[in-house]
């Protein structure tokens, strides 16, 4: 049977070769015969391999451009009611590999830079966690979790913060009344408030979109937005691409794939193999951000400190300024 198949394949290959050579010859001949005037646009033909290994010519449209929106064409952020609709056919998800995080906070810096965020707030903030005195400390980058049962969205009196069907939770700062109830409701301390008049000098001309959050407005709430306008353009969020350790993955759950700054992997497999968990998922918030436990670390973790669990080492004042200056 193998014999026959090999023969068959061989045969068809010769056929293919012949076909290809024939086509090439025909093309050359036609080129020679025709005058160098512009020809009416004929359907572009591209080679295709058939199931039995034959090479055939088909129309280009049949081959490329898959029907589902793999390539996102328009990149402009949406405004108004359109921004409340998710990106069609998507369900965004983030995975953070704590074993790879070295606590360098490049993600924070890149995020602040991209969104023009003042240094006193960090949409992507790196915490130094230690679950117990006997347990090793580890770095814990925390974006907004874009919960599927978002406590912030429940309590908003005016629907200024809303959940989209692509999983992203956004804020419309043209509607926000500044009551800060969403900040109280968020158990993950993810939201920030514009206490004073924000400096919008760099994006004066920007048209406001909840997808970008700029220009900022006084008296309104803001937070990590999963960079929907970047996803629309088919690019990864700044925190992901800036991570030298490739610790942050972002992608479409419905496609079962997430990408970090180096590669694309299958989501389900990653979550299963690395025993992923969601932070404080017992609160019922259904976060869309998964963490991979810091097992077999790629780097030495933070220095352990003795304390009853959690909060460790408050920083000296001014440390942040230095940090900001290096940005």
């Amino acid at each position: 049977m193998n014999e026959t198949r090999r023969e068959f394949l061989g045969g068809s290959l010769i056929a293919c070769g012949a076909l290809g050579a024939g086509l090439l010859a025909a093309k050359t001949v036609r080129k020679l015969q025709e005058p160098p005037t512009p020809v009416p646009p004929a359907p572009t033909l591209v080679p295709a391999l058939t199931a039995d290994g034959k090479l055939v010519q088909v129309e280009a449209t049949a081959m490329a451009a898959p029907a589902h929106p793999t390539h996102m064409t328009h990149s402009a952020a949406l405004t108004g009611a359109a921004a409340r609709q998710g990106i069609p056919g998507r369900k965004w998800v983030m995975v953070i590999d704590l074993a790879k995080c070295s606590g360098c906070s490049n993600c924070t810096i890149a995020c602040n830079k991209m969104h023009g965020t003042p240094t006193d707030r960090q949409w992507m903030r790196v915490f130094r966690m230690q679950d117990g005195p006997q347990q090793a400390p580890y770095w814990f980058p925390k974006p907004c979790f874009h919960c599927d049962n978002p406590p912030c969205t429940k309590v908003c009196p005016v629907g200024a913060t809303f959940k989209r069907d692509d999983g992203i939770v956004l804020i419309d700062n043209e509607r926000c009344i500044g009551c800060r109830f969403c900040m109280a409701a968020c158990p993950y301390s993810t939201r920030y408030f514009n206490w004073g008049r924000p400096d919008n000098a760099k994006m004066k001309d920007a048209t406001y979109s909840p997808e970008t959050g700029v220009p900022r407005r006084v008296g309104t709430v803001e937070k990590c937005d999963f960079c929907p306008e970047m996803a629309r353009a088919g690019t990864l969020p700044a925190c992901v691409t800036s991570c030298d350790m490739a610790a942050i993955y972002f992608g479409d759950q419905l496609e079962d794939a997430v990408s970090n700054s180096e590669e694309t992997v299958r989501l389900a497999q990653l979550l299963e193999e690395r025993a992923a968990y969601r932070y404080l998922a017992e609160l019922g918030t259904e976060p869309r951000v998964y963490y991979l436990p810091p097992k077999n670390r790629d780097f030495p973790g933070p220095v352990p400190k003795k304390s009853r669990g959690h909060p460790i080492a408050p920083p000296a004042p001014g440390a942040h300024d230095h940090h900001a200056a290096t940005t």
Binding site: D165, R180, G196, D252, H320, H323
Partner: protein, 664 residues
């Protein structure tokens, strides 16, 4: 006069009711006289403080909330404390008046007016506190335009608006006979003062006919009953602003009742304070006697003990269970944390001391003792609301300290000035009210004295921060694998060898000159469908070329693997059938040939055979987070509101009937 009334109970002399009425009126109208110098001074001072508050708030509007001490983490402070405090004070009033009316406690007659007025003024100051706390008060209309019934803030808006309307209506209904008394029908209208004309209009033509009296009592009894659940709902819903969040110290099932008890507790203390002040200022000793203070004192003791009980129940369970977040809160609030001292000071001076002062018998100095206890309770309950709000915000689930932030809150002059302005407004409203309207219900007192006797109604007619990334040294950005120093030498050697291989490999494909061409296809393999790629050069299949297969995803290319081509120039790899593709399961396949790291040939095609992508739920379900509210929630709220408002309507219908029955 004394003697006449002194015998009111007795059998012997017939009481001159007209005389009695006019005597009581004379006494109770004293407060309505033009303000004295002292009163003008008081009103002027209050106006000055109110102006300062207005200035501070204007300053805040111009500069944003950054002029307050509130920041990241501790984003609610004194304003929310004021809100809860004043809404709390508002409870006393109407609730106490209504309960006493419903239960027929006759000693209530001289305190109901004051209690009902407190409710209205406390609401008038408390409710705007939330607006003052808002970042965008200019968008207040959004609450109506885009209101979401899922939000406890909307529940608050409905509930407080209903309570405010109900309290005003209740206060008004109980004042109708007094309006009539104070603006009696006269022969010539010109002789009426402005106030009398207004009162005449407000009296609805009430003439105290039996029919009108019946209608009025029906309206009053109905209001007294309906206002009780409304009052309870208000403070319950206020507590739910905190209770509905997932925060340690707030997410507590007893928060509703805890706040309601706290509200009645502080409100009762508020009434007692007001009673003592008015009694002194307007010489109402005959109407506000020991009887009222004794009874309200007993109520205050009961509420004090209840509040101790609720406080114990709330914090003991948190301390004993000691969940991590609760533990941190208890540490901050009651332990060595920043609020330990304040909490215990409150517990001693705002909770236990008043109870002890009132419980230890010392009959002679009842009123001064009650006054001191009430003032302690008032200050204590303001502090308690602050202690409910700030320490919880300081200890969220993710410890801010782990990001190098230590949250702290110190209210600024703006917040203090606005707060003082709020208190001044409250006192001003009360002062003006007492100058315009009788502060003690005349008709109810008269009715009580004439029908039940002065003693029985307790009237003594003797006359009566950031920032995160912090100080711990920034760890060096390392290569992904940890390479010890000796390994570096090996690494360099390996690198050179690798470079050699790459150079050799790179040289190879360039031999025959023309580039490789790739074509993608698929076929049925032995173990399911396979992806295939044909590699040719100049139309001839090329063997042993490694072809890498990838699938395009939204934000990257998922690597399936690399397979070398066979002698026929075809490389094949299993098609991942479980991988979600387009609607028909088509996958965007990329095949590429790499020379070193550089891609030298690539092809792309759409190949069927993947799983069809899970359909996304395009419409929102009914859920709390969704734009569409759960049916049960909407139904409950609509039902409750319609019960209350239809009752209000019923009361209004009674008032219309009173108007219609009046003589032209």
């Amino acid at each position: 006069m004394k003697t006449e009334l002194g015998h009111a109970n007795g059998t012997a002399p017939a009481i001159d009711h007209d005389r009695l009425r006019s005597d009581i009126m004379v006494q109770l109208r004293r407060s309505l006289a033009a303000p004295s110098h002292g009163e003008w001074l008081w009103i002027g001072s209050l106006a000055a403080v109110m102006l300062a508050g207005v200035f501070a708030y204007t300053w805040q509007c111009m500069n944003g909330l950054k002029v307050t001490g509130m920041r990241e983490y501790i984003f609610w402070g004194v304003y929310m404390t004021n809100f809860v405090f004043f809404i709390g004070v508002s409870h006393a009033g109407t609730l106490i008046s209504a309960i006493l009316r419903v239960t027929g406690a006759e000693w209530r007659r001289s305190i109901t007016r004051m209690a009902e007025a407190i409710t209205v003024f406390a609401l008038a100051v408390g409710a705007p506190m939330v607006i003052i706390d808002m970042g965008r008060p200019d968008r207040i209309l959004n609450v109506v335009l885009h209101g979401r019934i899922n939000s406890p803030i909307l529940w608050d808006v409905c509930s407080i608006a209903t309570y405010m309307s109900g309290s005003l209506l209740y206060l008004y209904v109980a004042m109708i006979p007094d309006f009539a008394l104070l603006a009696p029908r006269r022969a010539m209208w010109e002789r009426l003062t402005l106030r009398e004309r207004v009162f005449r209009f407000l009296s609805l033509g009430f003439e105290d006919t039996p029919e009108q009296r019946k209608l009025l009592e029906k309206a009053l009894a109905t209001m007294a009953v309906i206002i009780i659940p409304v009052a309870i709902s208000v403070h319950t819903v206020v507590s739910w602003i905190f209770g509905m969040t997932l925060r340690p110290g707030w997410h507590s099932t007893i928060f509703g009742p805890y706040f309601v008890i706290g509200a009645i507790f502080s409100g009762t203390a508020g009434i007692i304070t007001a009673m003592v002040v008015f009694r002194k200022v307007y010489h109402l000793e005959n109407f506000l006697t020991e009887r009222q203070f004794q009874n309200l004192g007993r109520l205050l003791i009961a509420l004090n003990l209840l509040y101790i009980y609720f406080t114990l129940a709330e914090y003991l369970t948190a301390w004993y269970g000691s969940e991590e977040a609760d533990h941190r809160l208890i540490d901050t609030l009651m332990g060595k944390g920043p609020y330990g001292t304040s909490f215990w000071a409150w517990a001693v001076f705002g909770l236990f001391l008043p109870a002890i002062m009132m419980l230890v018998p010392h009959r002679r100095s009842l009123i001064p003792r009650l006054l001191i206890a009430s003032i302690l309770i008032n200050i204590g309950m303001w502090a308690k609301r602050y202690l409910i709000i700030v320490p919880t915000l300081m200890t969220p689930y993710i410890p801010p300290e782990a990001a190098g932030v230590t949250p702290s809150y110190l209210p600024t002059w703006v917040e203090w000035t606005v707060t003082l302005g709020g208190f001044a407004t409250f006192l001003m409203l009360f002062t003006v009210f007492a100058k315009v309207f009788p502060i003690i219900s005349i008709w109810e007192t008269v009715e009580g004295v004439t029908e039940l006797g002065a003693k029985n109604i307790g009237v003594d007619l003797e006359l009566p921060t950031m920032t995160a990334r912090p100080p711990w040294p920034r760890p060096p950005i390392r290569p992904r694998r940890f390479v010890p120093a000796p390994a570096a030498v090996v690494g360099i050697v390996v690198l050179f060898v690798a470079l050699g291989i790459v150079a050799a490999a790179g040289a190879e494909p360039s031999q025959p000159g023309s580039p490789l061409q790739l074509v993608i296809g698929s076929r049925a393999g032995d173990d399911g469908p396979q992806l295939t790629a044909l590699v040719r050069r100049d139309g001839q299949p090329v063997a042993d070329v490694p072809v890498e297969f990838l699938v395009r995803r939204a934000l990257g290319q998922l690597r399936l693997g690399t397979q070398p081509t066979g002698s026929n120039g075809i490389a094949a790899i299993d098609l991942p059938t479980t991988l979600p593709g387009g609607p028909q399961g088509e996958l965007a396949i990329v095949a590429q040939i790499k020379t070193g790291k550089e891609v030298t040939a690539t092809a792309e095609a759409s190949v069927p055979g993947g799983a069809s992508k899970a359909a996304r739920n395009e419409s929102f379900p009914r859920a709390l987070w969704s734009p569409r509210a759960p049916v049960a929630l909407v139904a409950t709220i609509v039902l409750l509101l319609s019960i209350v408002w239809s009752t209000y309507s019923f009361v209004i219908v009674q008032l219309i009937k009173i108007r219609k029955t009046s003589k032209p």
